[in-house]
């Protein structure tokens, strides 16, 4: 609605106007046979698989040096993107991925770091454990001892968590690090996956998370106590922090339900704020992250994923059509028309000029795909079981320096033809929701609490709860 400028332009409305101009559905070439999948609003699965495989198996260009302290994230973004696209690594590369991640658990501090030898930090810890959920599951045919899951030092991790705790219930992200709701979410998600949720760990956290909710309805990065049980949120309501806060709140409510006397999150204001983040037709129905800011593909997940979290919190099992309060058909248009990069991967938004490059990033690739998954889920009921084919490298040589110039995408072991792996925006509600059209790829469902497929999340949670695997802190 911000595009209506009431004949009173300001920097916000001027930027908004120029962004809206970029958000057009590409016009297909005159001959329909020449149009690319992206021009037709189809998920170009093979293109994105090539992008992911290239980065994972061959390596990342130097601009990713800015992510050197986020190496578990680079793995998680690509592995989970593959999972959503129903592809998994072959066993050899899974083992390699798991070994790489385990080498990032800081043996002195207990948590995982952003790379080998880096300090322990809550954010890479989440990315590392989630990556292990994808690639480290014990093979039923081999003894458990050989599973990477047995090599996670949970006792050290738990002590690390406790060492970060503030008296007000919040957590620093690392030794001397900042306090924010991303860290709290990452900690709780890991604690849930590894069966480490204790009263001791979460005491006071619920109240602090609630304190991050702002008058707008969304959540801020953090809160500071101002006396008498009052909190002041630091920063305005924001999509990323709102996802983290809501997911943290739901994780706490599932394991330690609050009493009726305890103060709750204001869900009515939250719902209103969430739907206000979705843009209109002229923004291809993408999500923005804050009031009066621009739409961006990553909020497809950070905001779009919140609706499934609300379903869990309010006890709705699966999406009934009438429970959907946002526009998932519209969001698919944004992701498929505006966020797909012609060279593979997904991005925040189209570039300012045709010749101007706007890179896709691993980060945006995952959060657009996860948003597409949740949008599909809201449009149609669908199976939640995971299916996967295997991604294998085209060559045994993965030496980054020698393969750098090679643009060849790794071959896919699966023989899925292009026509069977294309997702189209379902712009009209399906009349037969359980049987998508043959040409549509339904992405794997993602569990909104973790952003892992339900199969991966459930397997890990179950395994760490089996008798004999308790850790006594």
């Amino acid at each position: 609605m911000v595009q209506i400028d009431d004949n009173y332009p300001t920097p916000t409305s001027v930027t908004q106007r120029s962004t809206v101009a970029l958000l057009v559905k590409p016009s297909p070439p005159s001959s329909s046979s020449e149009s690319t999948p992206i021009q037709s609003g189809i998920l170009d699965t093979n293109l994105h698989l090539g992008y992911l495989g290239r980065h994972l198996l061959q390596g990342l260009p130097a601009r990713y040096t800015s992510q050197d302290a986020s190496q578990p994230w680079l793995l998680f973004w690509s592995l989970q993107s593959l999972s959503l696209l129903k592809v998994e690594l072959d066993q050899r590369n899974k083992t390699k991925a798991a070994e790489g991640i385990l080498a990032m658990q800081n043996s002195t501090e207990g948590g995982f770091g952003g790379g080998p030898g880096q300090a322990a930090h809550l954010l890479p810890t989440y990315a590392a454990v989630c990556s292990l959920a994808i690639v480290g599951a014990p093979d039923p045919s081999t003894p458990d001892l050989e599973s990477p899951w047995t090599l996670i030092d949970r006792r050290a991790l738990y002590m690390f968590f406790l060492s970060l705790k503030h008296p007000d219930g919040s957590f620093r992200v690392s030794s001397n690090g900042e306090v924010d709701v991303r860290g709290v979410y990452c900690l709780l998600a890991v604690a849930k996956l590894l069966n480490m949720m204790t009263e001791e760990l979460i005491k006071g956290t619920r109240d602090w998370v609630r304190g991050c909710q702002t008058y707008e309805g969304g959540f801020a990065s953090a809160a500071i106590g101002i006396g008498e049980g009052q909190w002041a949120p630091l920063g305005e309501a924001h999509g990323g922090y709102t996802f983290c806060a809501l997911a943290a709140w739901v994780l706490l409510e599932l394991d330690f339900p609050s009493s009726s006397a305890e103060k709750k999150v204001n869900l009515k204001n939250l719902r209103r704020w969430l739907v206000q983040m979705q843009g209109g037709e002229d923004e291809l129905c993408g999500f923005r992250g804050r009031t009066n800011k621009l739409v961006d593909g990553c909020y497809s997940w950070w905001v779009g994923g919140c609706f499934e979290l609300l379903d869990i919190l309010e006890g709705r099992d699966g999406a009934r059509k009438e429970d959907v309060i946002w526009n998932p058909e519209g969001l698919q248009e944004y992701i498929l028309y505006a966020a797909q990069h012609p060279a593979g991967g997904l991005r925040d938004k189209p570039p300012k000029q045709v010749l101007h490059t706007r890179n896709s990033y691993m980060y945006h690739t995952l959060y657009n795909l996860a948003g597409l998954s949740t949008a599909q889920y809201a449009c149609q009921s669908r199976p939640t079981s995971t299916s996967a084919s295997t991604l294998t490298p085209s060559s045994d040589s993965l030496d980054p320096t020698s393969s750098r110039s090679s643009s060849e995408a790794p071959s896919l072991a699966s023989s899925t033809s292009a026509s069977s792996t294309q997702a189209q925006p379902s712009s009209t509600p399906r009349t037969t929701p359980s049987s998508p059209t043959p040409s549509a790829l339904t992405l794997n469902a993602t569990d909104p609490l973790f952003n892992l497929t339900k199969t991966h999340a459930e397997a890990m949670i179950k395994w760490f709860r089996e008798p004999g695997r308790e850790v006594y802190w």
Binding site: D6, A62, Q67, G100, Q118, Y215, A220, G279, N292, V324
Partner: protein, 330 residues
């Protein structure tokens, strides 16, 4: 551009044993680092191993931070080193002034400042510095939350004194800057009662007039509507308190009747795009709160939003209709 001499070629670093990142050189998703970055981080890993804290560690960590400001381990080790060798923290803050502007969107540059400020404890100058960075980006999240932390943590009347004028300047520059609106709410309502603001009734009245005038100038501004909702809810005042003000905004320009100037209820500006969906939503909320027969009036407004004025959110308005009808049935 010449690359700086590698640590490997500098005699004063010859006593440090560089440590490669990977023991076996075949990881998944490797980053193709520049030689300069590889060299510096190899020596940094060597330093961590011996635990050395010295002046040259400050040079090394600054070098790494300039190449990758998100390297939180380098920041963390730098902070520990500053304390260990009793380095001048005000000098460090000056260096940060430069880095903060270059790397505005990095968590670490702002967090490092906060750690320094906990030792230096001179927040007033920080507020001035922050104001400068808003000239580059007036919505930068880290900067705003840092400013709010400074104010709430040091909580000094002198500090708070200039905040309202500061916000007004920013809103004057861009009435749609939601960060500034949030800061206004934070300053006026969410951080205790500051000097000169003891008369809460007067403060509330002032804020209502402020936001009404803002809406009058630019009615289709989500930030301002969120603000008026926020302050009414914060004081548990029903929305119906401002019915007279909101009503004209629910009508088209042709239907406007107000011709006399009512300071409490400023009318929509001539350039406004009416009817305003935020006003219709607000009016529906007033009806919903009344309950009973008014609920049907609310559902009519929600219908008009879903079908005409805010089609993108049709499903949300249908949800509101269902919830409303459920409420009057029970």
């Amino acid at each position: 551009m010449t690359e700086p001499t590698r640590y490997a070629d500098r005699p004063e670093w010859s006593d440090v044993l560089p440590v490669e990142q990977y023991e076996n050189a075949n990881p998944l998703a490797p980053i193709f680092y520049t030689n300069e970055y590889k060299d510096a981080t190899n020596y940094f890993r060597g330093i961590i191993k011996t635990g050395e804290k010295s002046q040259r560690v400050l040079e090394l960590t600054e070098h790494i931070i300039r190449l990758n400001p998100a390297h939180y381990t380098a920041w963390q080790y730098r902070y520990e080193t500053l304390l260990a060798i009793d380095s001048n923290l005000e000098d460090e803050l000056q260096l940060m002034d430069e880095l903060a502007i270059t790397h505005l969107k990095t968590y670490q540059v702002w967090h490092h400042r906060r750690l320094l400020m906990l030792k230096i404890r001179k927040p007033a100058a920080e507020l001035v510095f922050i104001a400068k960075t808003f000239k580059v980006d007036a919505k930068n999240y880290h900067t705003w939350s840092y400013r709010q932390w400074l104010l709430a943590y040091f909580n000094d009347d002198e500090l708070w004194g200039g905040e309202l004028d500061f916000v007004e300047d920013l809103l004057y520059a861009d009435i749609r800057n939601n960060s500034a609106w949030h800061h206004r709410f934070f300053t006026v309502f969410q951080s205790g009662v500051h000097d000169g603001e003891e008369n809460r009734e007067r403060v509330l009245k002032r804020e209502l007039i402020y936001v009404k005038q803002s809406i009058s100038l630019v009615p289709n501004n989500a930030s301002a509507w969120n603000y008026i909702r926020g302050i009414l809810e914060h004081h548990s005042i029903p929305y119906s308190r401002v019915t007279t003000f909101v009503q004209p905004y629910t009508l088209s320009m042709d239907e406007q009747t107000a011709d006399l100037v009512d300071l409490d209820n400023p009318p929509p500006s001539k350039g406004a795009h009416l009817p305003c969906a935020f006003a219709i939503e607000f009016f529906a909320d007033i009806y919903e709160a009344e309950g009973g027969d008014s609920m049907l009036k609310a559902t009519e407004l929600w219908k008009s939003l879903g079908n005409e004025y805010d089609i993108a959110r049709k499903k949300y308005w249908e949800h509101r209709i269902r919830e409303g009808l459920r409420a009057i049935q029970t």
